[in-house]
């Protein structure tokens, strides 16, 4: 590539990260053949992954990037702001999509009607675009728009499970109602904040909100935003949509959603709680101790216990997700560097382990046709590689040493001990024991119960499924033995979040200095990419 092009790409990386999947989505639709659309979606996912890694590298070495969309400087224009935290989340989202799509090739062929496969990839790419957009943008209303792009495509993706079971339709409908209420709550909260501050830029909000802690409308805004996001991330009492949506969605969708969408919502919650409001903000501290800690503990115990009694693997994993979100909430509720590190690290770790486990479920659907726990009988011998991956994922879920789950719980327990909360530390260990029960149930049936005699012998999952599954399983082990990468990032992010941006007078240092002048042609990527569309066709 000529250096001018490389320069251009590097310059506009934040915009390209979102624009590439956005432009690719309609192209997938035009390709109209499932295999072609899947190929394009895979290329896009790989590109996004590469871009997110580049962004993470740029941010880690050169500090936060501020990109003025369309060349309009913030706070008037929409700002894309990348720092270590959202670059890390971008990597999680993009990496998951790049690993899920190779897996999807066979799984989608098995579960989605041929005429709808291109549509599936279209909506999938759109969902990816939404999730990346939520993560990268520095504008509060833009978050809402991208959140709804990702949510609306998620509803459609979940409903595509209707070919296997009509309950996917009702699951999707419930999700739509709950998700829209959540998004609308977020908008109400944002309206109250806008009314008090007159700005929508997150950095600018942080600066202007700092002296307004006593204002009732601002406090109400905080509450609305937290409840809205709580609905989106399936925080414990607001999780009712999640088990059905994950159970009846097509396997690929369950993998993708479980690994990414709740993480992105947790990211937005952290962004608001620590960057926009800041830990010193009067209501934040109060809500952490009185609302988030009890709800996190309730999630860990109640959802885990419910998971033990499930007869379907995907539903079991869904309840386990609700419990694991509890760990993430518990982490940041401690409001210490260690606790926040636990949350950030667990976002990555949980994405990896849940993706493995849902991939196992997808492979079993492909070969056996059911995810009922009972149908796992004998699969330990018949699908040895798949079940070995399940064991690794399950051990991570429990938090056994040498797996990623251990690292998360290690930081959580350290955080709890730092604040002297012995009870919370004990609760973390105790809830992990419940995880042992639900993981063991499946392992026991898979390895110790002989296969039913009337079932045709089951073959091992195809290679295109095993490779992504094992790539993730190895990630679970690698980052469990050498957690330096994730822990360093986690600690840095936690430090940044707790230092608070409002207090160092942001708005003066980064913004406007590096990018805006050169981005006078900032609408370049948006204007140029449609032109290259014609070339691809």
């Amino acid at each position: 590539m000529p250096p001018a092009v490389v320069d251009f790409v590097l310059q506009h990386l934040p915009a390209l990260q979102v624009v590439v999947p956005m432009v690719a989505a309609p192209l997938c639709l035009m390709l109209s053949r499932g295999a072609l659309a899947g190929g394009l979606a895979l290329i896009v996912a790989l590109l996004c992954f590469a871009m997110s890694l580049l962004l993470l590298h740029q941010v880690v070495t050169g500090g936060p990037i501020s990109y003025a969309l369309g060349g309009w400087p913030p706070p008037i224009g929409i700002e894309y702001r990348v720092d270590t935290m959202n670059a890390f989340v971008l990597v999680i989202v993009a990496a998951t999509s790049a690993l899920v799509l190779p897996f999807a090739r066979k799984s989608v062929r098995g579960e989605i009607e041929p005429s709808k496969q291109a549509l599936f990839y279209t909506v999938f790419t759109l969902c990816l675009c939404g999730l990346l957009g939520v993560t990268i943008t520095g504008d509060a209303f833009n978050i809402f728009v991208f959140l709804e792009i990702s949510s609306l495509s998620t509803y459609v993706l979940v409903a595509m499970g209707a070919r296997r079971d009509r309950r996917a339709l009702t699951a999707s409908y419930t999700y739509l109602i709950m998700g829209t209420i959540g998004a609308t709550f977020y908008v109400i909260g944002l309206g109250l904040l806008y009314q008090a501050t007159g700005t929508l830029n997150l950095e600018d909000l942080a600066v202007r909100l700092a002296p307004l802690g006593e204002l009732t409308s601002v406090r109400a805004g905080f509450a609305f935003i937290m409840v809205g996001l709580g609905l989106k991330l399936a925080m414990f009492p607001l999780h009712a949509w999640l088990p059905n949506a994950y159970t009846y969605a097509p396997s690929v969708v369950s993998i993708f959603l479980a690994a990414t969408s709740t993480k992105v919502a947790v990211y937005v919650l952290l962004r608001f709680m620590f960057t926009v409001f800041g830990y010193d903000f009067p209501v934040v501290e109060l809500s952490l101790a009185t609302v988030f800690v009890p709800l996190a503990l309730a999630a860990m115990f109640i959802a885990s216990t419910v998971a033990v009694f499930q007869t379907d693997l995907k539903r079991l994993l869904a309840y386990s997700s609700v419990a694991q979100i509890g760990y993430m909430i518990l982490g940041f509720s401690m409001a210490s560097v260690t606790g926040l590190t636990a949350t950030i690290v667990h976002m990555f770790n949980h994405a990896a382990m849940k993706a493995v486990l849902f991939m196992v479920a997808g492979a079993v659907v492909y070969r056996v046709g059911s995810t009922a726990v009972a149908s796992f009988a004998g699969l330990g011998r018949q699908m040895p590689w798949t079940m070995a991956a399940f064991v690794i994922g399950g051990l991570s879920l429990i938090g056994v040493p040498l797996t990623v789950g251990f690292i998360s719980k290690w930081y959580l327990i350290l955080g709890a001990l730092e604040t002297g909360d012995w009870l919370i530390a004990i609760a973390i260990v105790a809830s992990s024991l419940i995880a042992v029960m639900y993981v063991w149930r499946v392992v026991e049936i898979a390895y110790l119960t002989p296969a039913p005699a009337d079932r045709k012998p089951v073959r091992e999952a195809p290679l295109s499924m095993l490779l992504p599954m094992w790539a993730l399983a190895l990630i679970c082990i690698y980052f469990g033995t050498d957690a330096q990468f994730t822990a360093t990032i986690g600690t840095n992010v936690a430090q940044d979040l707790l230092d608070g941006i409002g207090s160092n007078g942001i708005g003066s240092n980064d913004i406007g200095s590096n990018d805006i002048g050169s981005n006078a042609v900032g609408d370049g990527p948006a204007a140029d990419l449609p032109a290259s569309e014609g070339v691809i066709q």
């Binding site: 609306l152 009509r166 339709l169 209420i181 908008v187 159970t247 007869t311 046709g369 995810t371």
Partner: protein
């Protein structure tokens, strides 16, 4: 605005914020319909009311008393209403319409699959089913 009508500060507060009261009433009515109705189309109607109340809220936040529409006029002393909230709501309306479209198409699919759009009937129809998605449909 109502100080001439009444001297009571409480009444002033209530009347002076009448737009917010309307928003709150509309919001609660919408949310109540979503929660209380079993008919899936009516639920969507409630959801839409809920969203519309937020649109009104934003627009009344942006209104400047005595301000004109935010269109450039030659008069340097002209007072404009804040255009930003209206623009935001334009986007939110699009989102709302898209949500309604997806919701209604789901209802159509549910009607085709179940023969009803009443939530209770749908639940009753699925009551006897196994928790797992129908076995055997996978690799076919």
């Amino acid at each position: 605005m109502c100080s001439s009508v009444s001297a009571s500060p409480t009444l002033d507060f209530i009347l002076g914020h009448y737009n917010y009261w309307l928003v709150i009433v509309l919001m609660m009515v919408g949310l109540y319909v979503v929660v209380s109705r079993g008919n899936m189309v009516k639920k969507l109607v409630g959801l839409n009311m809920f969203q519309v109340s937020v649109f009104l809220f934003y627009i009344s936040v942006g209104k400047v008393r005595g301000g004109t529409a935010p269109i450039y006029v030659a008069d340097p002393d002209a007072v404009y209403s804040n255009p930003l909230t209206s623009v935001l709501i334009l986007t939110a309306i699009v989102v709302g319409v898209a949500t309604l479209a997806v919701g209604l198409s789901l209802v159509i699919r549910i009607q085709a699959a179940y023969g009803t759009v009443e939530e209770d009937d749908v639940q009753a129809a699925d009551a006897g089913r196994d928790a797992s998605p129908r076995a055997g449909g996978g690799a076919a």
